[in-house]
Amino acid sequence: MMASVEFIVRIGLWFLLPPLLPGIVNRVKAWVAGRRGPPVLQLYYDLARLWRKGVVLSDLASPGFIAGPAVAWVAVAGAALLLPLGPLGSLLSFRGDVILLVYLLALARFCTAWAAMETGSSFEGMGAAREVSYAVLAEASVITAVLALSVQSGSVSLARMMEPAVGSGGVLLAAGLFTVLLAENCRVPFDDPATHLELTMIHEVMVLDHSGPPLAVILHGASMKLLLYALLLVQAVVPLGGLSFPAAVAVLAGGVLAVTVGVGLVESLLARFAFRRVPLLLTTAFLLCLFALLVAWNGGAA
Amino acid sequence: MSSGLNLLIGISMGLNLLALGSSRLPSLIRVAAAQGVVLGLMPLLMEHHFSWLVALTAVTTAVVKGVVIPTLLRHAMRAANIDRDLDPLIGFIPSLLLGAAGTIAAVALVRVVPLLPEHRGLLLVPGSVAAILTGFILLIARSKAISQVCGYLILDNGVYLFGLLLIHAMPLLVEAGILLDLTVAVFVIGIIVDRIQRAFDSLDTRKLTALHE
């Protein structure tokens, strides 16, 4: 009974909160550029409008074109539900749930890429190719980060792994994970959600042919993914264990906000990289995580 | 009498060198025949008391090696109307030197193997080794089928020469062996030389190289 209530509550949270983040990011960008940007709740309006709209479907598309986004959204939501929320802890925690989380995100990627390939449009093919290719490097970083956390905490379940030790390891891990966050959520410097020059994009270009409710689901899923990574990052480097409940919540929220602002700042201060430099950056992220792992190993040994 | 025996062996050694040096087929055949006769007579000298069996072997050997085989070969040679010169793989002088060196080596080598007292004085072992060596040199260095047959005969002479060591102890083995060897050798060599010459009308073994990888 209690569990089901908690389940509903979490679902609700994960349903409502995420679209806030892109709004904040855009707000920050606008503020840096000295513009009045769109309202923070812009994405909510967009989602509502899209959900009411009809759909234009490519002749070539199979039912997978609709099912893909839905499954992807479910996968991300499932990953989100596995993630412990600071003091709340996680809904369901078991050995190796972290692997499940990582692979659920992979499943989501599979579905979006599949849906993108449905239409046979060369642009979407390009986007899907880039998505799955860069994911290879991102995956390495994520696994390494997971290893670092598990070595550090001597455990392989998220709930216990999220009790990190501060220090050089934490900093390295934060840097690495932040880069991965940018890459996985297709933000500058990997991707540029703002432009609509297809050749330069990864994620945006994959959804070119989507419209109406499926597009809404995709956008919501993306924002949920962003929040997920933000929470993961914060909990991975900020030790919340000792804090009281409200403090912990506050720190968590603050951390997420900080990350989001950070993303906004990066987007407005950096230019998008040329694609051939993307692997370089991702490799750097991987190395950062690897160093974090080494530090964790030695720290434990010492 | 061992001196007489050694004399004959010495002659056969000389004949080896002669065979190596002979540049024409007929002379080679003659040399081989002569050696056959010389060796054939040996058992008679080795006998202390006369025995029919040994005498028979000796005479047969002498006749076959001295008469039958040479005739056969000459016949084949004529039938095959081949040029009488045998152009060697190894020149005559080198093969001569080789043969001589081999003979000397043989004489020296024999010191390491133990011999029965009654054979101490004899040159049988070096003689046979020398003949075998000569046979091999001829087989390897001469290109005419007939010359190779001669080489084979001299090789056999070497074996025979060694067999004389045992002729007292195990006459049956030696004689049966030698006789069978001769008869069959004659028989087969006759056939083959004849057939080859009919098939190729030349006895140059360098033409017999159709079969190879």
Binding site: - | V113, I132, L139, A169, L180
Partner: protein, 481 residues
Amino acid sequence: MTQYFLIGIPLAAALAAAAWPDNRTRPWLLPATGIVHTALSLWLLVSPPQVPAGAWLGFDPLARAILPAVSLLFLACSLYGVSYLRTRSERSNRVFVAGLLAAFGLMSLAHQARHLGLLWIATEAVTFASVPLIHFNGTPRAFEATWKYLLVGGTGIALSLLGSFCLGYASLQGGGAGDLTFAALSAQGVALSRPWVLIAWVLLLAGYGTKMGLAPMHTWKPDAYGEAPGMVGAMLAGGVTTVAFAAVLRVRAVIDAAGAGREAGITLMVIGLFSMVVAALFLLGTRDFKRMLAYSSVEHMGILSFAASIGGAGVWAALFHIWNNSLTKGSLFLSAGNIRRAAGARTVDEVGGMSVLTPRSAALFVTGMFAVTACPPFGPFFSELLVLKAALSGGHGMAAAVFLGSLLFPFFGLTRLVFAIVDGRPRTAARTAGKLFPETAGVVVPPLILLGLSVWLGLATPSVLHTAWSDAVAQLTPPVK
């Protein structure tokens, strides 16, 4: 008494064949002799006679362990021969049949010879008796092969005679009374003069090795096997070689007794492995499927020598492998003969697609190929495993590695060549082969029988053979003092 029939019957049949007037019915002498001979030798296998120690001749354990295999092989070849010679009715088979029977009789003699000299004489006689078989085809190539066979073989014979003399001299020095039976020689034991024994061993190994076809004295083999009819190749590869190998075994027993067993073992192992390696290299490249069989035979002679060099269990495995080699190699030669006659050519450049032209022979050929390359359930698989096991138990790790390596490369060569011949589409040259060479039962069943025997031998080796081989090993290994 029976053992003398084994020798006498074929020789008598040979005389009969020489006298027999009719070219068409003469071949029937072959199966007749074969059946009687096989029956006799199998009977002797089951109930071996007592052999007096000093006998020059006798069906002793070693003969019992090998000779029946030769009889079986001859039986199959003789059955094959009837149909084969019918297809060659254009030429007289008088000399051929007589020679084959004589050679067979002399083989039986050589296998039963317990006397150094007698053994040598028999072996030489076999060599010369098989001369007419090799140039049966009467082509210039056949004559050339015969010529080489004669001179190389003759040289080997001269060497083995010299070796026999040396061994005799060694026994003289040991105070022997000139008795050259192997029993007597072994009895002399260490009394034999060591230098002469060693010299004798080298000469005899080289001499009889030439007859076995061990590298580098194997040069006559591809020519002879390539030019002779298939059934002759089978008899040479499965019969004559075993004679020479048995001779080596008998001599080695004496050398062992004389206390030079270590040297003998090592030389035997080295020459065996060397033969295997050389054969492997030849097999990788050869393009003529009858010469291929010759090289494969060289390889198996190497296996036999290697096995024999290990001693004890190795010798047992070697005896087992003799049977398997004779049977499988025989079937391979017979089916190869069919393909050769049907295709009218022998190299992969001219022959192809035989699975279409002569399906049965092609299937037999492929099966036989897998059999000789030690694929189960055929006998060689088991015997070669036993050889390997014996080698490893004997602590010859490196040698075993070489052994395995030189089993691998022949497999590559054989499979490539055989599939090239069997698969694909027929060459234009051999289009009409089906009519040119009908696959009658007479030419298909004998190889099939041989393969069946090989399977039977491998899966369910009769216990009588087990005991026969064990007795032979006991006869060969000197009693430890």
